[in-house]
């Protein structure tokens, strides 16, 4: 049943103009970077900033819009013998998968036809992994918000605020904390704070890939342990996975008891 719903969802989403625009955005950007920047490693580095800003924002906004627009459709399906959990996964995967595919395809295609080196591919795959995780997390957040707030202005507004909070304000708070308590041993608290923000997590994963040389400039045993060993990668990926399950579970549970 989930696959049935998913099948028609995918058919719908892949025909929509915005998903085509989304693919083209990443495709053109990566291609242009290849043309001007040269090697795939540089391209991936440049794409990093885009990925960390564009993906959370577009995923949460598109996700919320999509779900608000699908309200009547979901009601309709629920009047057929469809179970709620089936509909939820159908709808969730029906948006998250196309977004991931659009992003991954848009980024990787130029790597393919530019015959990037193995090292560049490794960076590109890390980029795609991180971007995909962020996509799914922010689509899940959007779904939760859209299910929680029937008023779409409120839902979309909150989506924007959450996005802004995670992309900018949160890091401002971290910097503030670092400044205010600079005389205290803050290594662990700062690391933990970063792990609590999915965008920071994604950023750290990518830093491990692209800026390890700079990160190694951090003094302190905790940082050395974290960034200098596979520990950092493991913890970041694990935290990202935890981050993934939280909004998905919240959205799912909300969906089961929601009044349409």
């Amino acid at each position: 049943m989930i696959l049935k719903i998913l099948k028609y969802q995918l058919r719908d989403v892949f025909r929509s103009r915005w998903i085509i625009a989304y693919v083209l955005f990443f495709l053109v950007l990566t291609d242009v970077l290849f043309r001007f920047g040269g090697d795939g490693l540089r391209v991936a580095t440049s794409m990093m900033n885009i990925v960390l800003i564009v993906i959370p924002l577009s995923s949460i906004i598109l996700g919320a819009f999509y779900l608000y627009n699908a309200r009547e459709y979901m009601e309709l399906l629920l009047c057929h013998p469809v179970k709620r959990h089936q509909l939820f996964w159908g709808m969730f995967l029906g948006l998250a998968l196309p977004l991931v595919a659009a992003f991954a395809g848009g980024v990787m295609l130029p790597y393919l036809y530019n015959a990037a080196s193995a090292e560049a591919w490794q960076s590109a795959l890390m980029l795609v992994f991180t971007g995909s995780m962020l996509t799914v997390i922010f689509v899940a957040l959007a779904y939760y918000l859209a299910l929680r707030f029937d008023d779409r202005i409120k839902g979309l507004g909150l989506a924007l605020v959450i996005c802004l909070f995670f992309t900018i304000i949160y890091d401002g708070i971290i910097l503030f904390v670092i400044y205010m308590f600079s005389s205290y041993p803050l290594e662990k608290p700062v690391l933990v704070m970063s792990l609590l923000n999915p965008i920071d997590l994604g950023r750290i994963l990518l830093l491990l890939q692209f800026d390890i040389s700079a990160l190694m400039g951090l003094t302190g045993a905790v940082f050395r342990e974290f960034f200098g060993t596979p520990l950092g990668m493991t913890v970041s990926v694990a935290s990202l996975l935890i981050w993934l399950t939280v909004p998905v579970t919240a959205g799912f549970r909300r969906f089961l008891v929601k009044d349409f």
């Binding site: 490693l41 540089r42 580095t45 990093m48 900033n49 960390l52 800003i53 992309t167 900018i168 304000i169 890091d171 401002g172 971290i174 910097l175 670092i178 400044y179 600079s182 803050l186 290594e187 700062v190 690391l191 970063s194 920071d200 950023r203 750290i204 990518l206 830093l207 692209f210 800026d211 390890i212 040389s213 700079a214 990160l215 190694m216 400039g217 951090l218 003094t219 302190g220 940082f223 050395r224």
Partner: protein, 471 residues
């Protein structure tokens, strides 16, 4: 009179060599002096051939050519002694004590469990099919006290760590003019140790140690008070310092591959007028440290992936009047760190994907940084001072530069400020580095770029290049 004539004759090739190698005008005045006394007095600091010749003269003049023809493996006058199962000697030590001045000792393939081999007369030691001298952790490998000794084609193994003695695989002790060529040194404490040994050539050796702590390891090639050395094409891995030079003048370090050493790839103290070119320094604890030296030339070296909180591609400390050009610094935590270094010219270098391309401390001044490429560094330039910069950045290519060139002269019309606000934040609060590449930090930087208030006003490239420097 006869003596005087002899010296003058000897001086001619020496002078030529000196001009070709170092081109030191100061030497010429000394060299032209007719008094041999002056020459020998200065021999420690003067060029290779001069010192060699002076000492050769003291022994006997017909031997003058001998020192220069050692490369072919056997002296004209010397006998050839063979060590091996079918040779005249089974032990190297016996051959050494039987050898006479100018002899060649040929060591056939095999494992020789000997140690503390003393070479106290001028001989050539040639390994045939790479014989192994296994020291078995008992002491030093070969100790050379004679001039012009040539060691080639050996493998020396298992020289023990010692806290009281500087065990080396091959040591030259007050013995100049020697050559160490194509040897393999495996699991040693010191590899090649030169003390007051001048005019040495160390070429094509492979040195490998397996220590992981600074305290129990020693340097690969260690020079102390030894001038005019040529250290070329060696591979040095896993030592404390790959190459260590202290009080070494006018030497050249060329084409070496120095990797994964615990402390520095190359460590340079009080050593003026040296040149190093075409070396590759990779993944060393702290890259290359050049300290307290003058007139150093560093050309076309590769500094790669030297990572760590106090790690540098190149550390300049109290370096003056030097030139750093056509090098590539890539993937280092810090490309170049400059402390108290003045009048250093850095040009035509590439800084790629370093954490910090250049950290220039306020104690450095009158440095000229021109025509370099800065590409994909987390920070291009950082400094610990917000005040006036006394260094000149001009005509570099910065990949982060976003200005325009309306008059088409190849230089951007808007100056570029390579010091980001964030780099000052990190300077004060290193932990803030965690926020690298975050949106918040980018906004901070952008604000600062639009309205510079905190970053040093004069640390500016007034003529940023629009295109990469072709190298």
């Amino acid at each position: 009179m006869h003596c005087k004539c002899n010296i003058s004759l000897g001086m001619i090739p020496a002078l030529l060599a000196a001009f070709v190698a170092g081109g030191m005008p100061a030497y010429a005045t000394h060299g032209l002096s007719p008094h041999s006394e002056i020459i020998s007095k200065n021999s420690e600091s003067i060029s290779e051939s001069a010192a060699e010749i002076t000492e050769a003269n003291v022994l006997s003049s017909p031997m003058l050519d001998e020192g220069n023809s050692i490369g072919n493996g056997s002296g004209d006058s010397g006998r050839s002694l063979t060590v091996g199962q079918r040779g005249e000697f089974t032990r190297i030590a016996d051959a050494l004590s039987a050898a006479a001045y100018g002899d060649t000792i040929r060591i056939e393939a095999g494992v020789y469990r000997e140690y503390e081999l003393l070479v106290d007369r001028q001989v050539t030691i040639l390994g045939i099919g790479r014989p192994v001298i296994d020291v078995e952790h008992r002491g030093e490998g070969i100790r050379i006290t004679a001039e012009n000794v040539h060691v080639e084609g050996l493998e020396i193994r298992n020289v023990p760590t010692s806290h009281s003695r500087d065990h080396a695989a091959i040591r030259f002790d007050r013995a100049s003019g020697g050559k160490v060529i194509d040897n393999v040194l495996d699991d040693t404490f010191f590899g090649i140790y030169l003390a007051r040994a001048h005019d040495m050539e160390i070429r094509g050796n492979r040195l490998r140690a397996y220590h992981d702590r600074e305290a129990v390891s020693a340097n690969g090639i260690h020079l102390w008070n030894s001038n005019n050395a040529v250290i070329a094409d060696n591979e040095i891995i896993g030592h404390r310092d790959g190459i260590y030079l202290e009080y070494v003048q006018e030497s050249s370090i060329t084409g070496n591959k120095v990797a994964e050493n615990i402390r520095y790839g190359l460590h340079f103290m009080f050593s003026d007028d040296c040149v190093y070119r075409d070396n590759r320094f990779e993944k060393n604890g702290a890259g290359v440290a050049v300290m307290y030296s003058r007139r150093v030339k560093m050309k076309h070296n590769l500094f790669v992936n030297n990572w760590g909180a106090s790690s540098y591609g190149l550390l300049l400390k109290e370096i003056t009047d030097s030139e750093i050009f056509e090098n590539e610094f890539s993937g280092n935590t810090i490309g170049i760190r400059s402390e108290g270094s003045d009048r250093v010219k850095k040009y035509r270098n590439s800084f790629i994907r370093n954490g910090w391309a250049i950290r220039i401390m306020a104690s450095s001044m009158d440095n000229h940084i021109t025509e370099n490429n800065f590409i994909d560094n987390a920070f291009d330039v950082s400094t610990n001072s917000r005040r006036h910069s006394r260094n000149n950045f001009e005509g570099n290519y910065w990949d982060k530069y976003s200005g325009y060139d309306l008059n088409g002269d190849g230089f951007g019309d808007v100056p570029y400020r390579p010091v980001r606000l964030f780099s000052l934040i990190v300077e004060r609060n290193p932990m803030a580095l965690m926020l690298l590449r975050s949106m918040f930090v980018q906004i901070l930087d952008l604000t600062e770029r639009v309205m510079p208030t905190i970053t040093p006003e004069t640390l500016v490239d007034e003529k940023p290049l629009m295109r990469k420097v072709a190298l």
